[in-house]
């Protein structure tokens, strides 16, 4: 597998957002701006009084639905869940996650990672270290073993199920949880989900920290204490992070060049 650094795709999402907004602005009528200009409105006034009100539905859409669907995206979530190379059976697991599991309470929680995730996150995987690199995982709890943290998670989930699942489906759900717990594949987090949905903070952030950080980490949004050496460890540590980043560049730039050349030639050859 060509290992890449998927963490760095998100800043580019702004292209999508600006694309929506641009389409909305250029779609609005030019006459409004002209009229405002004749009335003596400055460019700032035109922006505040015409552009912003006109694109407000777009802004709403992007801020609300973006955050809503972003974490609900099964692929994104599952990819971030494992923090590692994505294996073939996980593709299938993803597809079955979408439909095949019982819904305790509300569906979003399920989509948001309340499903079996393959294996344990290995603290030495590159992505785990990248989490530290991003400054998210800085609590120093990493001395806790995987088994301990999983035991805590399972305990927390049992409590969570008791309080949230309706009486009728409780038994079935509990059996399911027991299955997952016993087979050692059950991981998930409702609290992060609900916190995120309640606050509308960046869901991807929670999707990222969810699988590797411990439960207590969700209580505070800011790392405490901030451990700057993690940045150094992530770049110059055990993982060849520059290599992964270079891989990302290679498998992005070459296809882009190919896209431009080939699609332009193909488009030119198409009959009118």
């Amino acid at each position: 597998m060509v290992k890449t650094s998927p963490d760095f795709d998100e800043p580019l999402g702004c292209w999508r957002v600006s694309y929506h907004i641009l389409g909305c602005v250029t779609g609005s009528t030019q006459q409004l701006y002209e009229a405002a200009e004749i009335d003596g409105a400055s460019i700032v006034q035109r922006f505040l009084k015409i552009t912003i009100p006109m694109i407000s539905p777009t802004i709403f859409f992007n801020s609300d639905c973006g955050h809503y669907w972003g974490p609900a995206d099964v692929y994104g979530t599952a990819c971030h869940d494992r923090w590692g190379p994505y294996r073939f059976d996980d593709v299938l697991r993803c597809l079955s996650l979408q439909n095949g599991l019982p819904l305790p309470g509300d569906g979003l929680c399920l989509r948001h990672g309340l499903g079996p995730v393959h294996g344990d996150p290995d603290p030495d995987t590159p992505h785990f270290q990248i989490v530290r690199f991003l400054g998210v995982y800085t609590r120093g709890d990493d001395k806790r073993t995987i088994d301990e943290s999983r035991a805590l998670e399972c305990k927390w989930h049992r409590q969570s199920f008791r309080s949230t699942v309706s009486k009728g489906s409780q038994a079935a759900t509990r059996r399911q949880v027991a299955d997952w717990t016993n087979s050692g594949v059950y991981r998930g987090d409702w609290r992060g989900t609900r916190l995120h949905l309640a606050l509308h903070v960046d869901g991807i952030h929670f999707a990222k920290v969810r699988s590797t950080a411990h439960r207590e980490d969700f209580v505070s949004l800011l790392p405490n204490p901030i451990v700057w050496s993690n940045y150094y460890d992530a770049v110059f540590g055990q993982i060849p992070f520059p290599r992964y980043f270079l891989n990302s560049i290679i498998i992005t730039v070459v296809p882009v060049a190919a896209n431009v050349i080939m699609s332009s030639l193909v488009a030119f050859s198409l009959p009118d």
Partner: protein, 113 residues
């Protein structure tokens, strides 16, 4: 129309067959699936369609004048169409970069060997 019909097939449907294909070609654990794919399937028909729509706005008279002057098809492409379509090409490059960079599940569905 045939080209546009390929847009109706979701990427997810072709993901697993493509994976099987790559396994049989022995391309796992290499860059090849990403690179070769990009040349033969130029980013899906979206960019082709976008550019084609742009080329259709260029006046045919330019082509005709070039033909009168003795230009072949490649000269027309290189000397007339390409300089006029820089903006569209840049747009394609930007959006294609964004789409390639953010294409997570495809990257991760090519597994470790």
């Amino acid at each position: 129309m045939l080209m546009l019909s390929t847009m109706m097939l979701p990427q997810l449907v072709t993901m697993i067959p493509k994976f099987i294909l790559f396994v049989k070609l022995g391309w796992i654990n290499t860059y090849l699936p990403f690179l070769v794919q990009a040349f033969f399937i130029p980013g899906g028909p979206v960019w082709v369609f976008l550019l084609r729509q742009y080329y259709m706005t260029l006046p045919v008279e330019l082509d005709e004048a070039a033909i009168v002057d003795g230009a072949g098809i490649l000269s027309i492409y290189w000397l007339i169409i390409l300089p006029l379509s820089k903006a569209a090409l840049v747009a394609v490059a930007i959006f294609s970069f964004e789409s390639h960079w953010g294409r997570l599940h495809e990257r991760h569905s090519v597994p470790e060997n």
